[in-house]
């Protein structure tokens, strides 16, 4: 039943299911990294990389340094601009690996 009368529910799929719709080839190594882990651990209190990522790539790690689920990456580049410390290392996955969009 709809929460609001007269408004149909829309089934929003989980992030996992959404990412499952994208064809993906694992490049083997992460194309993402942090430049200086100490900056994340000591200087960063906002985790902007986590806030902006549409794909759940960045997760706050126990030691304050983010864990990177690079295989979720949709290659948008948001984290690279979002980090106020310029601490995101971003390269393109090698030789066509990473995401392949059919619709785009």
């Amino acid at each position: 039943m709809s929460v609001q009368p007269g408004i149909p529910d829309v089934d929003n799929e989980s992030l996992e299911d959404r990412l499952y719709t994208v064809k993906y080839e694992d490049p083997g190594d992460s194309h993402l990294d942090v430049t200086i882990p100490g900056i994340c651990a000591e200087k960063c209190h906002t985790d902007d990389c986590v806030s902006v990522c549409p794909a759940g790539v960045w997760r706050v790690g126990e030691d304050g340094v983010p864990e990177i689920a690079y295989e979720n990456c949709l290659e948008c580049g948001s984290c690279r601009w979002a980090c106020p410390h310029g601490n995101v290392e971003w390269t393109y996955p090698d030789t066509g690996a990473g995401v392949t969009y059919k619709h785009g």
């Binding site: 902006v52 949709l74 948001s78 601009w81 066509g96 059919k102």
Partner: protein
Amino acid sequence: MTADATDRISLADRDTATPDYDDAFDAVVVGAGLAGSTAALTMAKNGLDVLIVERGRFPGAKNVFGGVLYTPTLRELVDVESAPLERYIAERRFGMLTDDDETAVSLSPGEWHEPPHNDSYTVRRGAFDEWLADRAVDAGATLVCRTTVTDLLREGDRIVGVETDRPDGTVRAPYVVLAEGGNSLVSEGADLKDRERRENVAVGVKEVLEFPERDHAIEDRFRVSGDAGASYHYFGEGAVGDAFGGGFVYTNEDTVSVGLAYRLSDAATSQPDPEGTLDAFKSHPAVAPLLRGARTVEYTAKTIPEGGAEAIPQLVHDGAVLVGDTAGLVLNNGLHLEGTNMAVESGFHAGKAVADAADRGRTDADALAGYREALESSFVVRNLDRYEWLIERVQEDRQLLFEELPRAVADAGSEYFRMDRAPKDDHAETAKRELLQAVGGYTGAAKLAVRYRNLL
């Protein structure tokens, strides 16, 4: 719907494991998107030997857009009618959303049903970009996919080719066209442009949805038939919360694209993450009925350079030019969301300028300056210049324009049409008072009118 996109081209024909193309080409184009393929096509038509290097498995594999393709320039260069188009845009609707109201304006001029359909079509980039790159190949260009340009080659200040991630993947050429998209790792790495501030970059997310158990869902819900389609834009709180941006729904042939984009600085601070914002937008009372029963067939994300005219980097360098998103050529002023047409226009002028310079045997920035001049006198830079002030002011007034005013308009609307036993005089008076209150009385309304007088 075609089979798996990666099956549509034979990689064996296109891929070259170890390209040995040194000095075999006059120009290398980095990226087979709209700007890159248009530049390649233009140069090839002018007799240059062109190599297009694309990092995806096929052209379009890495490309995402909102999605409407504007084709006035493309139509001059290729047979647009034979391209893989989805639907032409027959209706443009602009909806202002509070958390539970919509106030909308819709335009459906009859002439949009007639060719060339106002040069506005939905497309799937996976199909269209490949088609366009094939037109460049038909004109003589060489396309290499699954190959990433990692750096530029220099001799002094001059760009003399590219470094790729293939073994022995160095390609020397007199001209390099940088069409690598908004995430311009190569151009930034080579100091051809600075990294943009996050206030000037939007993050966009989009889903392509299908209606598995509902035939004619698109025709019925969007009131279209044949090849006609609709473009719905939304702004206000119900679209992207308190962020600066907006949402959209576009009809493809048998899918719809739904998504939104807003500034990264907002995503980093006040506004929930893009996926959560998309969920809320899709569930809005004005949007949910359009999407009921739909299933996600693809989820995509991209970043959009929205710095406007002031953020355009130096377009011309010794041996290199910047085009499309790499050059920051996107117009988003709320009403007009354009980038595809600007990418094509820039690729065309860049391609012509390179061909002209090649005729004269020169590679220096001065010899390529024709590109910058042509772009500055084209609609691309003129439109960005025209709306520079507007974008600044809308940013400053966003609370009023995206939250307070939509709410006041919705409230005034429901007051004006209220059915009770009070006379309409009373309703009109209350509606007027509510509207005036939102804009700060007659003085405030007059100030706003002055502030936005250049809009028309």
